[in-house]
Symmetry: C2
Subunit: 393 residues, 2 copies
């Protein structure tokens, strides 16, 4: 285990508005998040201090197909700085964050930009259809018609069969996340919904209805990281990376030992807890990968917030609301904040950064007394996961 | 500057045969290189010791579109290990190598796999046409018809205008690289050619003929890296990473100060030389990015082996042959060994690993007394570059 606890700090963060952004191309979205991140550094940051760019993105959708990381670095005035794109499907932003953190601990950089960006909405029909299953197993599952809603529907019915989980419990997750998203000015969806909204909306794949599924979104997010020992040069209230982990699982769902457990989340979170010297009960808020409501339920269990099989009841009792035992997706999550694939994992850092500083723009969304936050993101059906734990200085 | 000199060692390397590999899909190619790399570790390596995978790839061409790094890790028996795909166009392998090195220096891993893979040949017509300019600037150049051969043709004519470089000097580069490739059992092209072959082949974009251009290839390569202080557990003859650097440039060619200089190569190589405490005269062999003959000529200058403008004469005099002042592309380079985009940069490490150990399989290709080797790779028109310097223990 590396001696990496609290070696890296977050000193700034930005988040473009997520959603239908026909007004903005890839560079515009990234720039919107970058400028906000730079402006958020309390004592100012000279862009010349930025050493390297790590950009999470699955695809650049009809714009710059290769070298998008270089293009974005150049677009924000940093021609010359090394820039790499990192891809692990929906976990691209999490792995970009991991690579950026490594480069600081390795001593290669004092300050880095970790970004994520995706343009998913105004693309051609065939491209748009790809989002349904682009990162599921191609040869054995996707080509034969198993879409992502289909895979997660299998998980949901299996969880119902094994543990008695109900559609109402799943619906409650959507209701909670829409309620949080309604208070988030950056969110794709800003409307509250009811359990009935979810239950009565059209089925996408039984038992998941339209409102059990996250949207595809355009968006970008940026986090500015630096060596912890220089963080106070930039702000009096840096947020520290106190633990992190990463893992993968087999790509195909048919090959799993269990459909109702994400081993990648289990492994990655255990690594992160160990490094941080913390336990699930220490986490005040978590931004986790609720691409479908069932995913949030399973992850609430796998990240250790309740026992396996207890997720439905734990959530129903209000434990994951803001003000509950652990606030899950106070931003609105993928479900309501939106899911611009590469940007999502970095957008989680944006939310945690402001929650731990206690300056969430809408006070109704502020998690009271938040001191420890966790970000979990996964690509595909829990295939590639990263977990990062952040603490207030 | 980080204290990273000789902190990381290469203890194994593998390289699939490059070329028309209709017999092999993405996983097969990677597995071919991985198994060779594992077998090349003299004292053996238990795959359980491998901590993480860093895979360079531009595109997964109709197979696994997202999460290919996870898929490949799983395919070689490492379900669970973190895996990320790194993309910087043709420099993807170089940036994957950089990320892998960082993770070891950061203390996150003792042993990592750095790989690269690309499937370019048996793809659809529209996909194949993309390779012509996929990583050039989309909005201002590619959409208006400026292909990669076109951009490099502009560079060639400008170099001719400024420095009197001749078509024969460019042709000599192709002749040398085909001569080296003819002796390389992994190479895409294994036929010697003459200056007349080059001059009399059809123009692709004046002054570049078909034989001034590298091919598109299928292929994969793998390097096994570890902490230098444990390298002797795996082999008595590890190769050390003694210096590295990376840089980017603006994506569009029109925006450059000079068409005849790659600033990314200048910046990245100066970083690497400084870290290694070495100068160009210390380099015995270099694998560099000869996507077109003019690129090798310009890079021979920009990496410091001769003065700007002197490249044509320097090469014509035989200084870059095996046995000359600095052996340039003893593998055959992109021109003859082939250019499976993501794999190319890692394949360079394979060549240098064996050259520095003095065990190149065809003795006619062995650089006599090789002790220091350099790898340079770039994405696009010199947009994203990495440079790594390796030394014998």
């Amino acid at each position: 285990m590396m001696q990496a606890k609290n070696a890296v700090a977050v000193v700034g963060a930005g988040n473009s508005r997520f959603g239908d952004r026909i007004d903005a191309n890839l560079s515009d979205l990234f720039s919107e998040a970058f400028v906000e991140a730079l402006d958020s550094v309390d004592k100012g940051l000279d862009p010349r201090e930025i050493g390297e760019f790590f950009i999470g993105s699955l695809s650049s959708s009809g714009e710059q197909i290769g070298l998008s990381a270089s293009l974005l670095a150049e677009y924000v005035g940093k021609r010359g700085a090394p820039a790499m794109r990192v891809e692990a499907a929906c976990a691209s932003g999490g792995y970009a964050l991991r690579a950026g953190i490594m480069s600081i601990i390795a001593g290669a950089n004092d300050v880095v930009v970790v970004g994520g960006v995706e343009k998913m909405r105004d693309v051609s029909g065939p491209q748009a259809r790809l989002w349904l299953g682009v990162s599921s197993d191609t040869r054995w599952e996707r080509w034969h018609g198993l879409t992502f809603p289909g895979i997660f529907a299998l998980q949901a019915t299996r969880h119902m069969y094994e543990y008695g989980t109900t559609r109402e419990q799943l619906a409650y997750i959507a209701v909670k996340n829409h309620s949080n998203g309604a208070e988030n000015p950056k969110a794709h969806f800003r409307r509250k919904i009811t359990v009935e909204t979810v239950l009565n909306s059209p089925f996408v794949a039984y038992p998941l209805t339209l409102f059990d599924c996250c949207p595809t979104s355009d968006g970008a997010a940026v986090a500015i990281l630096c060596r912890a020992d220089i963080a106070k040069n930039f702000t009096d209230t840096p947020i520290y990376v106190s633990g992190f982990g990463a893992a993968t699982d087999c790509v195909a769902a048919f090959d799993r030992e269990s459909l109702t457990r994400f081993d990648s989340a289990v492994i990655a979170s255990r690594q992160a807890y160990k490094m941080a010297g913390l336990e699930p009960k220490d986490i005040d808020l978590v931004e986790l990968h609720d691409c479908f409501t069932i995913s949030e339920l399973v992850l609430t269990e796998d990240l250790g917030f309740c026992e396996k099989g207890e997720g439905g009841r734990f959530i129903e009792e209000g434990n994951t609301q803001i003000g509950g035992k652990v606030a899950v997706n106070p931003s609105g999550g993928l479900k309501a904040k939106g899911h611009p694939i590469g940007a999502t994992g970095v957008g989680q850092v944006y939310e945690i950064f402001h929650q731990l500083r206690g300056d969430v723009e809408k006070r109704s969304r502020q998690v009271p007394g938040a001191e420890v936050g966790m970000a979990h993101i996964q690509g595909g059906f829990g295939v590639a996961a990263t977990v990062h734990i952040f603490t207030r200085g």
